[in-house]
Symmetry: C2
Subunit: 202 residues, 2 copies
Amino acid sequence: MTAAQTPRRGPRERMVFGAAQLIRRDGVASTGMREVAAYAQAPRGSLQHYFPGGKEQLVNEAVGWAGRYAGNRIDRFLAALPTPTPSGLFGEMVRQWTEEYETAGFAGGCPVAAATVDCAESTASTREAAAAAFGTWTASVARALTDMGVPEDRAGALATLMIGALEGAILIARAEQNVRALTSVARELGPLLDAAVVKDGA
Amino acid sequence: MTAAQTPRRGPRERMVFGAAQLIRRDGVASTGMREVAAYAQAPRGSLQHYFPGGKEQLVNEAVGWAGRYAGNRIDRFLAALPTPTPSGLFGEMVRQWTEEYETAGFAGGCPVAAATVDCAESTASTREAAAAAFGTWTASVARALTDMGVPEDRAGALATLMIGALEGAILIARAEQNVRALTSVARELGPLLDAAVVKDGA
DNA sequence: CCCGGACTATGACAGCGGTCATAGTAGCCC
DNA sequence: GGGCTACTATGACCGCTGTCATAGTCCGGG
């Protein structure tokens, strides 16, 4: 789980990745630059070399990295599903988190949520990076929904609902140290999502 | 909106209230004790007097205060609704946030979410306080749902879904500085909630 | 050989954080 | 008044933070 397990990538990428991991765990404000360097097994001097924009730049890149990473994962879920349904997609998105929490513990949440909570008011660029991440996910999910037969005028809102419910359930699960919230949300929201599919029986 | 507008309460309560407000805005880690005292117009020396447990105690009380406050608000919504429906309740919960964002801006989020993000891994007692707050809300909403005719075995999960979707939508709305996520979630989830009501037409 | 760029290595600095220690004031009860 | 408790007032301490400055290493190219 440590960044050292991905030594293939260069130090710069390791630091961005490590920053995302530490932000996931402790939030943005409690994550120090020196800590990121140590975690990524990167020299401290590289911080100002690769990130002349300081912590703000590093955090923003970490948020962007997380956004791209999770976006790709959504697309991979879609490719892997034999018969794509909204509930199937949502179930996979939720399952990713329940599995992590059950095997690795409740140490980490969503780094984009952490960035939003900690920086939305203080750092405009980070807030925008978080908004971009949410937007990427929403667009991906919405496109998937339309492909499954959900009317276009509802796909966007339903995608937002899915991501919002997932983020909220992550919060609750982490506070309770219990995946109950995640499984409850998946179980209740799944069927409702499938009902939005317009069956073209003609 | 400042704590100074509630000078009726004693300094201790003002500090707890002020801490919740500042945590809402900047997160737990970025909120300093001196800042809380200044915001609450309370003497700095009162901090160690009223909160010998230090910042941890103050934060925990702020989270507890927020939990009780929002819990009471839910109960008030229920009492005010002429014909209680799940979508009506959820709409009121969402409306509270859209109104704040539209009139006062997107400065603040949910303090319980902030505490969860910042302290879930580092401070066990704060994580428990956040879990208690979520639990209070869930219990309140679940009881309301059963009163409306939702089967008991689904009421809890649906309550979790409602609170989770709301928390997630708050996050997204704040990141985007746009209430779109909140209105989308309310519009899509509302009807689905009403469908869970068992109509006793007998 | 040696220049120049990319990267690394430290050290220092100024600021702010929470916390402790100590002293001071106000007011009430005996 | 004496003494007690509740509360206020400051100042100091130490650790940590992000950032800057400076020097160092490494290595390919002329």
